[in-house]
Amino acid sequence: MKIRAVSIGEAVPRERFDAVIQSVFDSALNLRLADEEHLIALVISDHYELPQGIRIVTKGLSLRTLTPGLRVATRSGILRFDSSSLSVDLRGASVWKCRVPELGLNMQSHTAQQAWSTTWTLLNQEQRHKNTELLADDLFRPHTGSPLSQRISKPVTSLVTSTDEFNPRGALHAAGQMIGLGPGVTPSGDDILIGFLAGLWSMAGENGHQLAFIRSFGRELIQLAKGTSEISRTYLYHAAQGQFSSSLSHLAEAITTSDCVEEAARAAMRVGHSSGMDAVTGLLIGLCVWNIPSPLYPSPAGRGDGGEGKDYL
């Protein structure tokens, strides 16, 4: 069966490559390229794009028919699986690129702050509804929530403060305590960091000082990412380059334009079991740095003690 790819992420090689299947899920699988450190993903979805993704739209196909370790090769734009008649035609697929670094989101604007508040509220509602291990509100209430919330709360606060102060060492120390922490193949700590970077990239625009910090932090974060799963490491790698999933990217755009925020937030939260919500948590926290007052910390005096954030909310 030959399936046409609808779109491919900018990080996917266009010409020939050899790979093996690294992992398989119902509607996605990851490929480990022969000469690359990072994975690419084949995703069945009618909308979800990834920087490293090949998107196909097909009904009734389960990727579970393929097994990890199976060889895969692309020749002249056709991706083929060893011992399977399934192939994916990459020719003619549109190339998708995440535009988050181009947003220049201004969190000083009233509409952006309103969009942020709407999303934060939705997020906490959804997390409570799904009874997830992490609750965004708990991150700023020390000694509250699940063991995971309590464990991650302090480094998250430290990450925000250090980034706000352009203190890369402090930010990296905090990130180091989050990497690989939590359930799932992309642990919650990693998802928060990915979202956090999305927040920073959304706002930096052409601000050289901020861009320099993000790039430097990103480079070091890639090194730290050796402490987490290969799949998660791939997402962190692209996040460090300012490249995120379409759902996170659309939410950042929606907050920038205050257009269809609820819809974008719900779509972003639907990714995975908790990954989407964790990434949205990170995004919203990331949008709070470098802004006075910020949604989480209405006044500079409030920083370092996340407990005051709830007044604003």
Binding site: S76, R80, F81, S87, Q177, G180, L181, G184, S232, R233
Partner: protein, 518 residues
């Protein structure tokens, strides 16, 4: 209460699956708590803090860590066994490919079953071959076109497309090649070594590679170009690409080129390219004067055997000697004893060849030694045999010519036509020597000696009946590693009185010596 853990290597499950999995474990008898997380340092630390792990275990971020707390060791151990079984059962389910497998019937289907393939061998009837080659090239595959009857009008754009996309088209009518040690088409099993060959001649390639093996050296790659490649219209595209590839190949120390003389413009380009390769290049443009080639790193030679010898000498770091046209001393007694058997009227050589290049090399050699030689592949136009079915004086026939192969297999496979012709020559009182080539290797007849021997014996009987003797001279092209075994085939042919030489060139010289000065 007791806790225990197990690490499952390289296992990826999404959060929902792991959550459901943990719930199933918790529901087991005697189990209080269970957790399944990626074994990152931070997760391990969290489990230690939560009291689920007694002490930290080494992190392994791509592996799944299952931790279980239960009322006693038996419950915990059983739960972990069950956990592992559940995960493995899932893996087996995932391995069942619901897609029906069918044998590949196209290049694309072939790629489906072997996606990392980068090479295709096309052996369809000629009329379909170009289209298949084009498809393969567009899929990014190198092509060997075994098929013949492909026009130059089709060949040229294929080769141009391939060159522009850094791909190689070997052929059309490329009968043999050895790529990465794998014999393709009619090819011999030769040892690997440091000599790379590019040849526009199938049996020429087989002869040099087999002799290189016999001389104790080996082959890196043997690239066939097809017979039209060195014509002006094609421009030697494949040979030029082949030289480039071998020049870049670190395993190749010496390059060997084999062809009939190319068109002058192509010859210049080929020799220029070879000169720039910075490696010793032995050039056997069969029939060309070696002196017009030898210069710098280029070594022109006169026969396929000399080409193989020169390449082996160069690969061993030795100087290339001046090769002699003279018949080696070891054959001289054979010449005398053969001459004694012949009657005065037995004056002519009848060469019956299955290899086109062997035929051509023989015509050249005999012409030099004996003068006029009739052939269906003559050197001079006036030596074209008027009737290919009837020999005239010295006659050398390429039985692989299209005229003979229409509707029947190639004479390397099917010996019937040659055997009939042997009997026909035996009837001719002027026949002195029947000169043969025997080509071993993949694709060729699996036991050529058994095919030839009855005909040889029958021919000898025909001659004996007329109170004559016939002399059979042959060379066997192949190696002991070939499916037919060189030594086994040679031994059987010697048993019936065939005089064997080490190469085709020597066979021609020996035959010429027998019918020469008497």
């Amino acid at each position: 209460m007791t806790t225990s853990q197990r690490m499952i290597k390289n296992l990826y499950r999404d959060s929902v699956s792991l959550m459901q999995f943990s719930e199933k474990l918790r529901a087991l008898d005697g189990i209080q708590q269970a957790s399944a997380v990626m074994a990152t340092e931070n997760n391990i630390s969290l489990l230690v803090e939560a009291g689920l792990l007694a002490s930290a275990v080494p992190p392994s971020p791509n592996d799944l860590l299952i931790v279980v707390e239960g009322k006693d060791e038996a419950s915990v151990s059983a739960a972990l066994d069950q956990a592992e079984a559940m995960l493995k059962a899932k893996a087996v389910d995932a391995g069942e490919d619901g897609v029906r497998h069918v044998p590949p019937r196209s290049v694309e289907m072939g790629l489906d079953s072997m996606p990392s393939a980068n090479f295709v061998l096309i052996s369809t009837p000629g009329e379909y071959a170009a289209a298949e080659a084009r498809k393969a090239l567009q899929l990014g595959l190198h092509v060997m076109m075994f098929s013949d009857n492909v026009s130059m009008e089709e060949e040229i754009p294929l080769k141009q497309y391939a060159r522009d996309h850094d791909l190689l088209v070997m052929g059309p009518d490329c009968g043999t090649a050895i790529i990465n040690g794998i014999p393709l088409g009619f090819a011999n099993v030769v040892r690997r070594g440091d000599i790379g060959v590019v040849a526009a001649s199938g049996t020429g390639l087989q002869q040099v590679t087999s002799l290189i093996d016999r001389f104790g050296a080996g082959i890196t790659q043997a690239i066939g170009t097809g017979g039209h490649d060195l014509k002006s219209e094609v421009g030697g595209i494949t040979m030029l690409q082949g030289i480039d590839a071998l020049a870049k190949d670190q395993a190749t120390k010496v390059i060997l080129l084999v062809s009939k003389p190319p068109s002058p413009d192509v010859m210049k380009n080929v020799l220029d390219k070879a000169a720039k390769s910075k490696k010793p290049v032995v050039v056997e443009f069969i029939g060309a004067d070696p002196k017009t080639i030898t210069a710098g790193n280029l070594y022109g030679v006169k026969t396929l055997e000399d080409a193989a010898s020169a390449a082996v000498l160069l690969s061993k770091g030795k100087a290339v000697k001046k090769f002699s046209n003279a018949l080696p001393a070891k054959y001289k007694t054979l010449v005398k004893s053969a001459q004694k058997k012949l009657k005065k009227e037995q004056r002519y050589i009848r060469g019956l060849f299955s290899g086109g290049t062997f035929c051509y090399e023989t015509v050249l050699s005999l012409s030099e030694a004996l003068g006029k030689v009739y052939s269906n592949t003559p050197i001079k136009k006036d030596e074209k045999i008027p009737n290919v079915w009837k020999s005239l004086e010295h006659t050398v026939i390429d039985l692989g010519d299209d005229l003979f192969t229409q509707g029947r297999p190639h004479p390397m496979i099917d010996f019937r036509l040659r055997n009939e012709r042997i009997l026909q020559e035996a009837e001719d009182p002027e026949t002195a020597v029947i000169l043969l080539d025997v080509v071993l290797g993949y694709g060729s007849n699996m036991d050529p000696a058994s095919e030839l021997i009855p005909a040889i014996q029958h021919a000898q009987k025909i001659a004996a009946k007329a109170k004559r003797n016939l002399v059979f001279v042959a060379s066997v092209c192949g190696t002991d590693s070939d499916p037919q075994s060189l030594s086994r085939q040679e031994a059987r042919l010697r048993e019936v009185g065939v005089i064997l030489t080490d190469s085709n060139a020597q066979a021609a010289r020996l035959a010429a010596a027998i019918v020469g000065a008497r």
